[in-house]
């Protein structure tokens, strides 16, 4: 019986591992990184969906979270609430230098950067903004981490 359950859960894991869904949180970004994120998803030139992932509209459906922006004081509570709604196992990708270190807003009075003080971050994609290929590279690393966690 135990072996059967094991086999079943392995198969379920293999089936699930094919298509992580991506959710994007804007933590007070200037929209530069958001435009690049949208570019990777919406423009057939970069087409992130070839990696088997898709952008989704609800945090409850997401597996990989892309966070942009330095976590401003105004959006902090909303970001924490939305982030908590993403089910485990989740992988967080910090897109752009703002969530990683604060970028040009570092040590500013209105930002809570770096974001890893509040949210566990798994992959960093530095750039201001990073180019779409770099975001795809980051998402590919995130998918590898996500498969391990599953």
């Amino acid at each position: 019986m135990t072996t059967l359950i094991q086999t079943f859960s392995d198969q379920a894991r293999n089936m699930a591992a094919r298509s992580p869904w991506i959710y994007r949180i804007n933590a007070g970004s200037c929209n530069g990184c958001d435009v690049e994120c949208a570019t990777t998803a919406l423009i057939p030139r970069y087409d992130v969906e070839r990696l088997g992932c898709q952008y989704c509209g609800s945090p409850r459906h997401a597996d990989i979270v892309l966070i942009t922006g330095p976590l401003t004081a105004r959006v902090k509570d909303a970001v924490m609430r939305v982030y908590a709604e993403v089910p485990e196992p989740k992988v967080t990708v910090a897109v752009g230098v703002c969530p990683i270190s604060g970028g040009i807003f570092r040590d500013g009075y209105a930002v809570f950067a770096p974001i890893d003080q509040h949210i566990p971050v798994d992959v960093n994609v530095p750039g201001c903004p990073p180019r779409p290929q770099a975001i795809i590279e980051g998402i590919a690393q995130a998918i590898a981490i996500w498969r391990e966690r599953l």
């Binding site: 057939p44 030139r45 970069y46 087409d47 070839r50 990696l51 910090a94 230098v97 990683i100 270190s101 604060g102 970028g103 040009i104 570092r106 890893d116 971050v121 798994d122 992959v123 960093n124 994609v125 530095p126 750039g127 201001c128 990073p130 180019r131 290929q133 770099a134 975001i135 795809i136 590279e137 980051g138 590919a140 690393q141 981490i145």
Partner: protein, 167 residues
């Protein structure tokens, strides 16, 4: 009007999706990516630290010398450091493969120490100076430059004044 060229090329050549990440990606020739620091050219003028908008470049005094530090995770790749570097010690390469696991985020740093040398005349501690600034030809012979490089700023000032008197 570059987009018209792209449009026509896409129409003629068919699928326009880039092969990356399953193949190499095209990079523009003047892409501003990962910074490359050439220690032998740095003259420690700290102009890059002055102009760096996000404060990614920092100079610290250490017992061995002046330490140059640049953290790519704060750098916004604006290119001001390269523009203002008088000795061409800082270059931006076209390398954009910088996505990394966040456990390695403090490895994205350039740390180089501009060493102290002792003055050949008075023995005082001075920073090793770099070759002449880019685009400037100093009115000295190569041997004179080599001799002056071993001096501390005070002795160099004195030596130059004496040289001026002799001429």
């Amino acid at each position: 009007m570059n987009f018209v060229k792209t449009l026509i090329r896409n129409l003629v050549r068919g699928p326009s999706t880039e092969v990356y990440p399953f193949g190499p990606a095209w990079t523009p020739t003047h892409f501003r990516g990962r910074v490359d620091f050439k220690l032998s050219s740095c003259t420690a003028c700290r102009a890059c630290e002055q102009v760096c908008a996000p404060g990614a470049i920092r100079f610290d005094k250490t017992p061995e010398g002046l330490r140059f530090m640049l953290w790519h995770n704060t750098c916004v790749f604006c290119g001001l450091c390269e523009h203002y570097c008088p000795t061409d010690a800082i270059h931006q390469t076209d390398d954009w493969h910088m996505a990394h696991a966040s456990s390695r985020q403090y490895e994205m740093v350039i740390r180089e120490i501009i060493p102290y040398v002792s003055c050949s005349t008075c023995g005082a501690k001075a920073l090793a100076s770099a070759p002449s600034p880019a685009g400037v030809v100093p009115p000295f012979t190569a041997e004179e430059i080599e001799i002056q490089r071993d001096l501390c700023p005070a002795c160099r000032k004195k030596a130059l004044a004496e040289r001026g008197v002799q001429q």
